[in-house]
């Protein structure tokens, strides 16, 4: 016997709708059906006006971050069956809604840019002309943090990022830690100066929502606190 699931989807076109509405779609549950596959089913067979972002379907691109049953997650890697008979699908919270499930990520990218999310290398490249090498131990230090796919699930679950529009937020700071902890990076001092600003690491209240919601299980709060520690001891020792 086939089982049906009701998708309760947030719908809003800011140009037309003064308030959002929730539209229900019945969908037949098939083995292995993910939330994203269900959304594609609705788009292709039921309602061509539904807007959402998605690309790789394998939790790598970070496009399909959504607020599903009250939790930020990736639609592509989330199985529909365990979510119950009625599944509430909303856009990532606290980012401006472009249409339906697609949000405006401008603010997110602006903050990302502020932490200079690339390797800062002052020394000349090795004479071999090949890559800059690093030991296995040093590589391990950034193991978790290089997994970030920039889906904004952490950023949009951070209470401080909601209340303080200037706060760099967990995604940008996790990226900063990825380079601060990287033995090849030489921009450490400059990065810590950015982190020490009023809108930097000290706005983190260790609520751990970012760590809880990260689909890649990155210990983001740990990274932020590590930067905080470096800034704190740097200031106390007069290095900053």
């Amino acid at each position: 016997m086939s089982q049906t699931v009701t998708l309760r989807i947030y719908r809003r076109d800011p140009d037309l709708d003064a308030a959002p509405k929730y539209q229900n779609y019945q969908i037949e549950l098939t083995p292995g059906l993910t939330v994203l596959m269900a959304l594609y089913h609705v788009l292709e067979n039921v309602d061509k006006t539904l807007a959402f972002r998605a690309s790789c379907r394998s939790a790598v691109c970070g496009s399909c971050g959504m607020h599903i049953n009250g939790k930020n997650m990736l639609a592509c890697e989330t199985q529909l069956a365990p979510l119950g008979n009625e599944v509430l699908i909303e856009p990532l919270p606290h980012l401006p809604v472009l249409k339906d499930l697609a949000v405006d990520m401008t603010r997110f990218w602006d903050k990302y840019e502020k932490v200079r999310p690339y390797l800062i290398a002052l020394k000349a490249p090795p004479p071999s002309g090949k890559e800059r090498l690093q030991s296995v131990e040093d590589r391990k230090k950034i193991d978790e943090f290089i997994d970030c796919i920039l889906c904004a699930c952490c950023h949009t679950s951070c209470s401080t990022a909601w209340w303080d529009k200037e706060y760099l937020g967990p995604a940008a700071l996790a990226k900063m830690y990825r380079f601060v902890a990287d033995s090849r990076d030489e921009g450490g001092a400059e990065r810590l100066q950015i982190a020490a600003r009023e809108d930097g690491v000290f706005r983190c209240h260790t609520i751990f929502n970012c760590t809880e919601e990260c689909p890649k299980k990155i210990p983001i709060t740990f990274g932020i606190q590590e930067i905080k520690k470096r800034v704190l001891w740097g200031k106390l020792a007069g290095r900053m």
Partner: protein, 123 residues
């Protein structure tokens, strides 16, 4: 462009509960401080006035309320220690067991104080 309806993220992790607990107990302590200042200010009306107020506050209901205050202060204090620990960069990856352990630890002084206060509550 509009935002979604949420006013606060509906986080259900332990850290979010700890955060709310810390804010609410902090507010309660601030409210208590105001009441405390009000009570202490009765001394302005002379010693008799102040003694009268102290006598009034010895009633079992106030002792019971003080137990509530103690619980609030213990939660806020012990959780505060946890936050300081994290801000210094220690134990961040073990936040959940640390929170549970500290809250369990906070029960000890509460039980002792409650045992001492018990005869004053049920007089």
């Amino acid at each position: 462009m509009p935002l979604t309806k949420h006013t606060v993220y509906p986080g259900r992790g332990l850290g979010m509960w700890a955060f709310w607990l810390h804010r609410l107990t902090g507010l309660a302590i601030a409210v208590y401080l105001l009441m405390h200042i009000l009570v202490i200010s009765t001394v302005v009306g002379g010693a008799g006035n102040f003694n009268e107020a102290m006598k009034f506050l010895k009633a079992p209901i106030f002792i019971l309320l003080e137990m509530g205050l103690l619980a609030i202060i213990l939660i806020h204090g012990f959780n505060g220690a946890r936050i300081v620990l994290f801000d210094l960069g220690y134990g961040v990856k073990k936040q959940k067991p640390i929170f549970i352990a500290l809250m369990a630890l906070a029960i000890i002084p509460f039980v002792i104080a409650f045992a001492v206060a018990l005869p004053h509550i049920f007089v």
